[in-house]
Symmetry: C3
Subunit: 155 residues, 3 copies
């Protein structure tokens, strides 16, 4: 195995204005509490026996695998949202599934969609769901803004 | 070195319908046999002395580096394809080169293009090719679908 | 921690024509001296106490985390540029911030923008800047071309 398999995870979300689209994304990462780390994007599994923890202060500059949804916009007044959902299986030797979704629209709707996506993903596997977790955030753009929701792996 | 250098690789491809574009991508990963892992996208080298193996069952939730091409579509009846090609050098102390390509069109054509891309990449390096490997897949969209072809690194 | 935290970094930039957009990107990586490695994209921090080094020859096929800006174009005569900037904090126990930017336009302008982005990112953190580093490159497209600027983490 090239990399160690994570043993812990937590969910975070953030939103921010910014000087540019990338600055807004950086601001959303900061607001989510993970802006001073090196996020490595991955697809989208919670390993078996991986424990949920409360968000922690990660070491600055640490390389951290995460599954995330993010969206930026520079349309004044636009409402954008990002969400992630995790479906955890009844059989604890199987992995959980993370889904990510971002779009124009309100948090409530985006969170509902991303939870449905996780449900459908477990159906495709033929696995029963024991538990669902999700987080989402919405933001109304002033000038340039970003939203982010993430499952951060750690341990 | 931050990460260990991989010592094995294998090629996979998959296609799937899905509830959303991301669900279809998840389905294509599952069909390819890597849907329960955390794929970390990378550019696109087979290390020297890295051995080709048959696709294996990866540990669920493992973090796995891979080079891949993927495409999703929600246009009924559209044919989409994804392919990867590896050009391996005559000098076994040099690395192999992976190229990825996805587009509308048939597998045969996309696989030809991606193989040509790998040939051109080796020309650019001034290296002679000892061997070529490739895999590609096509899929005709019903409602929402995805294709994926990947070189998975392991070891 | 899943991954080790990097202890060294260096800046590179490259540009190239190519047989396809991806071949041009591969050529730009080669021109930058990192074309025979597996680049893993990450967001965008220089860890505290991470030392700047001169660009080194990385082991072929090594997995290497990097923050980068890249752009490809197939518009004859178009000038494209990519740049990265690092803002390093006065307090050496805090991390540095990397920003990436690519666009149509000349190197001088893109480098100015990306440096401003790093300045704004440090303002958002409320941190004073001790030092700035940046690199950028421009390229005039013949047929198909790419530019790339990167901060490569190592150690």
């Amino acid at each position: 195995m090239i990399f160690k398999t994570p043993t812990q995870y937590f969910l975070v979300a953030g939103a921010s204005e910014g000087y540019t689209l990338l600055n807004a994304f950086d601001g959303a990462l900061l607001h989510a509490g993970i802006g001073n780390t090196n996020i490595v994007k991955m697809s989208s599994i919670v390993p078996p026996h991986c424990q949920r923890i409360s968000p922690i202060a990660l070491p600055p500059g640490a390389l951290v695998p995460a599954a995330y949804a993010a969206l930026t916009s520079d349309v004044h007044g636009e409402i954008i949202s990002a969400g992630v959902a995790i479906a955890l299986p009844e059989d604890e030797n199987q992995n959980g599934l993370i889904m990510e979704y971002s779009a124009k629209g309100e948090q409530r709707k985006i969170e509902e969609i991303v939870r449905n996506m996780a449900v459908e993903g477990m159906k495709l596997r033929g696995w029963k769901i024991k538990d669902m977790k999700s987080i989402a955030i919405e933001y109304k753009i002033k000038k340039i803004g970003a939203v982010l929701a993430a499952v951060v792996l750690w341990g």
